[in-house]
Structures are given as structure tokens and as C-alpha cells.
Amino acid sequence: MRLSRRPWFFLSMTIICLLLLAPTPAKYRWVNESMAALSFFWFVLLAAEELLAQRGSGPASPRGGQS
């Protein structure tokens, strides 16, 4: 089972938001936190959707598509 690039794109945004927490002034950290939470939510949702779709379609063909 493999995830496409899209869930990873959202996970990378989560990581960037969290890495920026330290340099962000305390007053504005809620922006990083809320955006990290939102992007992580999309990562989980998109990853779950892809994994469930792969499981539903049975064993994948060698090229990853449906036979």
C-alpha cells in the first residue's frame, strides 16, 4: 500500500507550521497551531481515503492500477 503525494504534501505543511512555532512571536502562535491542526486533519483524511480505496479494490496490479 502506497500513498500518493497529496497526503504527504499536507503532512509537510503540518511540519513546516510546527517548525515555525519557535520563531513565531507568542501572540501569533495560534496561527501555526491551527494551521498545523488543519493540515494534519487533511493528511489523515486523505491518507485514510486512499488506503481504504486501495483495500476496497483488492490486490493491486504490478503497475498499481486496477486489473
Binding site: R6, M13, C17, P23, P25, Y28, L38, S39, W42
Partner: protein, 329 residues
């Protein structure tokens, strides 16, 4: 002295005009590319909302901009060099067709002039830290809000079969989202020029150090940015509206609403962000709802390079312009 101040105020307003000219694309690219408005009507629409933004937003961003350099460092020649540096950078990126940020060009220009005068210690690092963080955060906010909004719209309307009627609704909705974005653009970007003019007036003892921004400064800054928008920058409209991803009215509506929400929030909080960064993020977010390959990452990558280079580029320009004035600084 008065003539010098008036001349630098005019240069600042010219920068503001060019900011509107350069960033007009951001306000209207999506409404033009989705054919909701003709290019001529779109610029009038955006310019109007750019101008009336002064009725809604305060001057928090102007105050932040006037504080990026320690008080008393920038004299008339320094502020002049900062403005010329920022304008020069804007012109270079405009010629290359890159949607860079006039705001960050101004911040880079102010830093370049201040460092030329008094070295690195003249910069207020806390303010620059805030600006640097939001250089990265603002497109991310645009991407996430646009993706979320677009997905929500899909969920709500996916069973609705009257596609024509739906499209008409989204096209009308784009008029409001473009207006909201133009208001945010006018509010955030015009205030940066106000901040520079305020710093100039304080440096020349025309107004006291803790003074509010005079109303004539507020009105003239909004008028300049609105006129700049009216004249528009068509090269960048093309990059923003069609090269990053292909947009439908619903996509344009979501991208602009997401960007407008983000810009309104930061403007009220007094953070100078790039409207260009935010709308680019919004457009990428909408493209991502289809698939990542719907976004032309090559163009988006060029945009990112322009962002990375803006502050250093304007810094160097302003530093170079400062050199002939060094004796008088």
C-alpha cells in the same frame, strides 16, 4: 526642507502606485481568468475597493512598518534610498513577469538603507522575525483555507444537478470575493506606504513621534494604490490567473475568499503580509483539490524563488542607492 519632504512623499506615493499596478493582478486575475468580468471592468472594481479600504482597516500595519528600523536612523536620504531600492526591485520582477511582493521589497529596501547608514544593529530583529515567519505562513494559510473551502463546497453541492445555475451563482459570488480581496489588498498594502510617510514626517518633526497617521496620508496612499490598480499589470495577471492552475468560477471564489479571510485577519493584527503570497497559496489550494499535478509546480516554483529573493534583492538595491548619499546620511 519642505520641498525635499514633498518630493519623498511623492516617491512614496509612486511606490504605492506601482504596488497597485504590480498587485492589480492578484485582485483581479481570478475574475478575469474565469471571465466573470472583462479586464477593464475588473480593474475598476478592484480599484474602487482598494480605495474604500481606509474606511474599514486601522493603521496597525503602518505602525509595524514604521518600527522595522530603530527610531532616528532613517533620514530623508535613507527613506528615499529605501523607496528607490524597492521600486527598482519591483520593476525588475515586473519586467520578468514574476509575482513578487511589493511589501517585502519595501521591508528589504528599508533594511538596506538602514544597514548602509548605521550597520546591522539598526534593524529591529523582532519585527523582521515576525515578517519572515509570515512570508512562509501566509501562502500556507491560503492553501489550507482554499482547499478546505473548496472541499466543503464540493461536499455541499455534489448532488446538485443544475450546473448552469450553480455556475451562475459562483460567478456572482466571485464579484464579492474579489471585492473582499481588493479591500484586504488596499488595507494591508496602502498602510505600508503610510508607515514610510509617517516615519518621514516624524524624522522631520512635522508630526510628533507617537502621532497617528494624518488623514491626508491615509487618503493619498489609498488613492495612489487605487490608481495603480486601475492601470493594472497584465503580465502578472496571466501568470496568476492561468499559468499556476486552470480555474473555474467556483475555484476563483474559493481562492479569493480564502485569501481575503487570511489578509483581513493579519491586517487587523497589524502584520504586513504579501497579498501576492496569499492569493498564490489560495490558487494552489484550489488546484490541489483536483490532484497535485493540476498545479503547475514549475511556475509555482519560480514564484517561490521570487519570494526568497525579494527581501535580499531590494536590500541590495537600496544599499546601492544609499552609496551616493552616504555623506549626507
Amino acid at each position: 526642507m519642505t520641498v525635499t519632504i514633498a518630493f519623498i512623499v511623492l516617491v512614496a506615493l509612486a511606490f504605492d502606485f506601482f504596488n497597485g499596478f504590480h498587485d492589480a493582478a492578484n485582485s483581479i486575475a481570478t475574475v478575469v481568468s474565469t471571465r466573470v468580468l472583462t479586464p477593464q471592468l475588473a480593474v475598476v472594481w478592484a480599484a474602487f475597493w482598494n480605495f474604500v479600504a481606509f474606511l474599514i482597516f486601522g493603521t496597525a500595519v503602518a505602525e509595524t512598518i514604521s518600527k522595522v528600523v530603530k527610531p532616528g536612523v532613517l533620514t530623508n536620504a535613507g527613506i528615499f534610498a529605501a523607496l528607490i531600492g524597492a521600486i527598482a526591485w519591483d520593476i525588475i520582477t515586473w519586467v520578468l513577469g514574476l509575482p513578487t511582493s511589493s511589501s517585502h521589497a519595501l521591508v528589504g529596501g528599508l533594511a538596506g538603507a538602514a544597514v548602509a547608514i548605521g550597520g546591522w544593529k539598526t534593524l529591529i530583529t523582532g519585527e523582521y522575525q515576525k515578517i519572515f515567519v509570515f512570508i512562509v505562513l501566509s501562502p500556507i494559510v491560503g492553501i489550507l483555507l482554499a482547499f478546505t473551502l473548496m472541499t466543503a463546497v464540493f461536499w455541499v453541492f455534489h448532488k446538485y444537478r443544475k450546473v448552469d445555475k450553480l455556475n451562475r451563482g459562483f460567478r456572482r459570488g466571485q464579484l464579492f470575493s474579489a471585492a473582499a480581496f481588493s479591500l484586504g489588498h488596499g488595507g494591508n498594502d496602502a498602510q505600508k506606504t503610510m508607515g514610510v510617510i509617517l516615519a518621514l514626517l516624524v524624522a522631520n518633526n512635522v508630526v510628533p513621534a507617537n502621532s497617528d497617521v494624518p488623514i491626508w496620508v491615509v487618503l493619498s496612499a489609498h488613492l495612489a494604490i487605487a490608481l495603480g490598480t486601475l492601470f493594472g499589470g497584465w503580465r502578472i495577471v496571466h501568470t496568476m490567473g492561468s499559468k499556476i492552475t486552470k480555474l473555474q468560477p467556483v475555484g476563483g471564489l474559493c481562492a479569493e475568499t480564502a485569501a481575503a479571510t487570511a489578509i483581513w485577519g493579519v491586517t487587523l493584527a497589524g502584520i504586513p503580509v504579501s497579498t501576492t503570497h496569499t492569493i498564490t497559496g489560495g490558487i494552489v489550494g484550489v488546484g490541489t483539490t483536483q490532484r497535485l499535478s493540476a498545479v503547475r509546480w514549475g511556475v509555482a516554483g519560480r514564484v517561490v524563488w521570487a519570494w526568497v529573493l525579494t527581501i535580499p534583492g531590494a536590500f541590495v538595491m537600496a544599499w546601492l542607492v544609499s552609496l551616493p548619499f552616504r555623506g549626507s546620511l
